[in-house]
């Protein structure tokens, strides 16, 4: 099946998504990779400078440029998701994030957390940075840029029809990466 969804999506919609479904999302994503995950692991939702619920978590360290104070996305494909495997279950559980976007897949621990929280993992093709940037219509906010640097900072991005995403791990615990 192919779906075009606006974030945040309902729990019922998430349940409907199965592995190999194609998905395009419109709404807000926030980028987080190794360092942002580590920071979030040590924080409560009320301490976080942004509200991640309702957004999709995008494993991405974008290439950005600044023109007259305004941030522009140059290239923003996904980073390897498995590096976040040890933390992702905590993020899913604590921050009410229900959609992870990344590449290369995640392990059993995350699969279990996706099932528990009724969430999905969707894959965007790796290395496809310019196509991803074309689907990003704006940069709303950036957090921890000074401290973490461009790739590791949290960027809140507005996206329009972001995809094609392939649902690769669904809320029933199924994973396209399991059979490998």
């Amino acid at each position: 099946m192919e779906y075009h969804a606006t974030l945040p999506v309902s729990p019922d919609f998430l349940k409907k998504l199965h592995v190999n479904d194609i998905l395009y999302v419109t709404g807000k994503l926030f980028t987080a990779r190794d360092c942002a995950h580590e920071k979030m692991r040590a924080m409560n939702p009320k301490d976080l400078p942004f509200d991640p619920s309702g957004m999709a978590l995008y494993h991405c360290g974008p290439l950005m440029k600044q023109e007259q104070e305004k941030w522009i996305v140059v290239s923003a494909g996904p980073t390897t998701s498995s590096r976040m495997e040890d933390v992702e279950d905590i993020i899913l559980d604590r921050f009410a994030v229900h959609m992870i976007i990344g590449k290369g897949g995640m392990g059993k621990r995350t699969a279990k957390a996706l099932k528990k929280t009724g969430s999905v993992y969707a894959a965007f093709p790796g290395g496809v940075g310019v196509l991803a940037a074309e689907k990003i219509t704006g940069v709303s906010q950036v957090f921890w840029l000074e401290e973490l640097g461009m790739p590791e900072a949290v960027w809140v991005l507005d996206v329009q029809e972001f995809g094609p995403l392939v649902v690769a791990m669904d809320s029933t615990g199924r994973s396209l990466y399991q059979r490998l």
Binding site: G127, V130, G149, L176
Partner: protein, 286 residues
């Protein structure tokens, strides 16, 4: 020699390497697209669209603009050998600002990002010498998604070539979808720990579809390619027939008691570009 002009040539080299992939890789991706179905085909379609977009917009095709390895063949009669390192470094700083490139050099002790893609030992310059007065440079920017999947093995010599094959396949399986397949696999066999990894990386400089001139090595390459494509990992690990576009092997003689194997995996975005610098400083990016 006009050093400013030479620096602009090196910036052009970096721009070309980051925004275009060579025709041999594009052709191989198109062949894979034709053969695949379902999710794997969709991945390849997006990759090919991205290749077009990156070239048209002159934007780096992947946000991970990588670690920059410059393979430099210096003609021993080139008049300004001593200035090359400095000019390359200046070009990297300029390219980081102008193209732009993602700042990818982090101090391992403090975790501070240097911000300009310079740092201890980076960019990585690999020097070789040749006769004549020209300089040939091939730039291989390589992202960490694939580089993190590199592996060094010291097999028992009795394991033989069969052991080498098993080692390569096990590394490719372990990597799964993480290095952005369809991959190109560089394999070094023989030598020492550092030499075998260097051979694995140098193997990636050979165009996709070109086998080793030694028929025994070429046969090994074809066998490995077939074995890798039987894993079913497929494009981005979502399952499929094409997991690798090619396998390239380079060998060194080995110590009687050692059988080192170096596996260097390259992502589908197999970015590389070359340039020639003439004795008067004029240049051409191929």
């Amino acid at each position: 020699m006009d050093e400013k002009h030479l620096k602009s040539g090196l910036v052009q080299l970096i721009l070309k390497a980051e925004t275009e992939i060579p025709p041999d890789v594009v052709a191989a991706l198109k062949r894979a697209y034709k053969e695949e179905t379902g999710s794997a085909k969709l991945q390849l379609e997006s990759m090919l669209t991205n290749v077009e977009l990156a070239k048209k917009k002159r934007c780096p095709m992947c946000q991970d603009t990588g670690i920059l390895s410059f393979f430099i063949q210096v003609g021993t009669d080139f008049p300004k050998i001593g200035t090359l390192k400095g000019i390359i470094e200046q070009a990297v700083v300029q390219a980081t600002k102008d193209i732009p490139l993602r700042p990818n050099t982090v101090d391992p002790m403090t975790s501070k990002n240097h911000g300009d893609n310079l740092g201890f030992y980076l960019p990585h310059l690999l020097w070789d010498f040749e006769a004549g007065n020209k300089v040939h440079i091939t730039l291989l920017p390589k992202g960490s998604g694939s580089e993190n999947m590199s592996a060094l093995g010291f097999l028992s010599p009795s394991a033989g070539l069969e052991g080498v094959k098993q080692f390569v396949i096990s590394q490719v399986k372990k990597a799964g979808g993480r290095p952005c397949p369809p991959i190109i696999v560089g394999v070094g066999i023989g030598g020492s720990a550092d030499l075998v990894m260097n051979l694995g990386k140098r193997a990636l400089l050979r165009p996709v579809g070109v086998h080793h001139t030694d028929s025994l090595i070429a046969t090994l390459e074809m066998e490995l390619l077939e074995m890798i494509n039987k894993t079913g990992i497929g494009a981005m690990g979502l399952g499929g027939k094409i997991t690798a576009l090619d396998v390239h092997v380079e060998v060194a003689h080995r110590h009687p008691a050692s059988l080192p194997v170096g596996v260097v995996i390259q992502c589908w975005a197999d970015r590389r570009a070359s340039m020639t610098i003439n004795a008067d400083g004029s240049w051409k990016v191929d």
